[in-house]
Symmetry: C2
Subunit: 402 residues, 2 copies
């Protein structure tokens, strides 16, 4: 969808014209009351559900949408009932206008000149998309992690346009530790000699070293210590080479988030205990896994987009305009809420979701909250956990009427 009108941004800058990539699933009903907007997290896209077909009509490998376990016919967010919209955010590298595209003011690729965008800006752009689709009110807005922040922001910026907000594995702002991890990732990218101040496109290079490091750091924080020990432990790579493909993780544009592929039980592989005694070669399976994920990510993700999206995470803090008082900040929200967190998520810990729950209850809002006992850390929000899926299914069936 092309938007010709200028979008003013929170920073004071503006985007003169822009495109938003989006996909829809299911049918919009006659009174346009069954729309569910899905907001994406760091490296995902508008491709939320379903699969892509190749020219011969066959399903493309690994082309499932990043929340395909959650959204589809008969699924927790049932596309037989709801009209689901996936939208790619401004500044992304998966179709919407972003740093890899031409700046209409200069005729050159934006690169580092792409303006800094915030969660609030994304919500403003998403609202314009809904305007263009003729949808006044959302049955629900829903997202995990950074996507959950957008869902929360929707209820504050457009309280009359949202009936339900489903906020999964999210937080009312980042902690210092979260900002710290983002900053290290950004420094790895920015100090890569191939970054060229963000104008690497002009030089025909990509700051892949930095992107690899950024992604490796990210992956560590998405998983729990427990699940890492179970999946990898102290397994040596040498042992695992006997079983090629073990430990692979599906990810890539635009079909996946950061969820590990289920099923293959690495702990079946026994360690042979023979070290290479090398500081640079791979010894442990966890090293191999992280390098593989870093390499893959560096092939498809844009470095400037990474900087922009992590910055949007850092900046999000609806309570800051209210002296840090989240209860006052959320007084404007009139939606009903479902919040979900996961016990082993240390990046967006359950305590952070409970802060939102408390602030909503302080305002006598209708809030459901589920804390799912899951071993997978932050990644759990992308996985097919029966209790998690059951909670979302129940909420939609019992509360979210089209």
């Amino acid at each position: 969808m092309h938007f010709a009108g200028t979008l003013p941004l929170q920073s004071g800058a503006a985007i003169r014209a822009y495109d938003l990539a989006y996909e829809t699933y299911g049918q919009l009903n006659a009174d346009k009351s069954n729309a569910v907007l899905i907001c994406h997290a760091l490296n995902a896209s508008h491709h939320v559900a379903g699969v892509y077909l190749d020219e011969a009509g066959r399903v493309k490998e690994k082309s499932e949408g990043w929340w395909d376990t959650m959204i589809g016919p008969g699924k927790p967010v049932d596309t037989n009932q709801f009209f689901v919209i996936g939208v790619n955010n401004l500044g992304s590298c998966f179709g919407s206008t972003g740093p890899m595209q031409l700046n209409p003011d200069t005729g050159e690729v934006y690169g580092a000149d792409f303006p800094v965008v915030t969660v609030q800006d994304w919500v403003s752009a998403q609202a314009r998309l809904l305007d263009a689709l003729g949808i006044q009110t959302l049955a629900a807005v829903m997202g995990g992690s950074l996507g959950g922040m957008q869902a929360l922001a929707w209820t504050l910026q457009y309280p009359d346009r949202v009936r339900h907000a489903v906020v999964v594995a999210s937080a009312p702002n980042l902690t210092a530790e979260n900002i710290a991890f983002n900053e290290v990732a950004r420094r790895a990218i920015v100090t890569d000699p191939d970054f060229h101040g963000g104008h690497f496109y002009r030089h025909g290079v990509l700051p892949k070293r930095g992107l690899r490091i950024a992604r490796m750091i990210g992956h560590i924080t998405y998983l729990s210590d427990d699940v890492m020990n179970e999946k990898f432990g102290r397994q040596l790579r040498q042992a695992v080479e006997l079983k090629p493909g073990a430990g692979e993780r599906s990810a890539g544009p635009p079909q996946a988030g950061s969820a590990p592929s289920g099923g293959r039980a690495l702990h079946e592989v026994t360690s042979v205990g023979a070290f290479k005694y090398s500081t640079q070669e791979v010894e442990f399976q966890i090293e191999s896994y992280l390098r593989y994920q870093g390499d893959k990510f560096a092939e498809y993700f844009d470095a400037n987009t990474y900087l922009l999206i992590t910055r949007a995470l850092d900046y999000f803090d609806p309570a800051s305009a209210f002296g840090g008082d989240l209860s006052r900040a959320l007084a404007n929200a009139s939606a009903k809420f479902l919040l979900v967190s996961f016990t082993t998520d240390w990046r967006f810990a359950p305590a952070r979701s409970r802060e939102i729950v408390k602030a909503l209850l302080d305002n006598q809002r209708d809030v459901s909250y589920a804390e799912i006992d899951a071993p997978h850390g932050h990644d759990a929000f992308l996985l097919d956990d029966a209790r998690y899926m059951g909670v979302v299914r129940s909420y939609f069936q019992s509360k979210v009427t089209p």
Copy 2:
């Protein structure tokens, strides 16, 4: 101390000749029974206690040993009673033979050719130092983090030479998550174009970009989420610039570990809430702090040493030769033990110390264990916490007779 004899290494390689830098505090008694060996962690050295004087006899600024709160006259490890030895490990960059020095076989700087050393190798080298000092039996061996691993290894390699082992904030091996953080740090260093496969000395450059990233990652994992929120929270740098010097952290060779400087309360500085809206400039105080720590570390620490020491951490796993059974692995230890852990240490969590306690109790060993409720994360082992100091003081006074 120069050692002319070849030291065979766990890898099968050997070091033909080497020096160990060491310092001693207090007096060795007549029957040489009051020696306490202190083993250091990642970026520390033999300069464990006391201060250095300049030519005019004045105390040099920030020259305190890295465990000066713990060791000295009248301190928990009382140098009026004990003869304390601090030793710098092989492969370090603070005086003992390491990658920055000449390889006698080639006449060139070792660089990446310095052999991989393990905790076991360090203990072997330390034992030779004790031989040279005429010390048969240690009253105690003591260390925190990686230093605690060395203390534990001493009780297994030389059970007859250790009466007490004090193992602080340590673990019987690294978890997958710990290895993962080490690996990201190593990749940042190794993929820095200035690393040149570890032979950067020949090129007259230093892989400072990689070292900065490595140190930033390290710092995040040494602190707890709580203490980061208390010290930095979401404070903006702009606010803090009004109070120059706030948030500085003393570190540097060889006088300090990674302990934050106490006292200055950053939470007194109120945020002004004005963002720059930039992905590359510093917005938050935590970013400024991490960049500063990274810059400082890159000035003094050797990249090859960083690789070697993190690898020694990865490899340490006394249970591996016993099918993962730590109780069987520790059956050979005959020392008495004090173990100390800190509640908010997520890098070497209390549960890891309790694994060691359990394995020792399975062998009917004499074990004391203290879990200190401290907010400072892994860094707590370097800090002057009254309960922590009290536990070590009591243990030495009541159990460790010279």
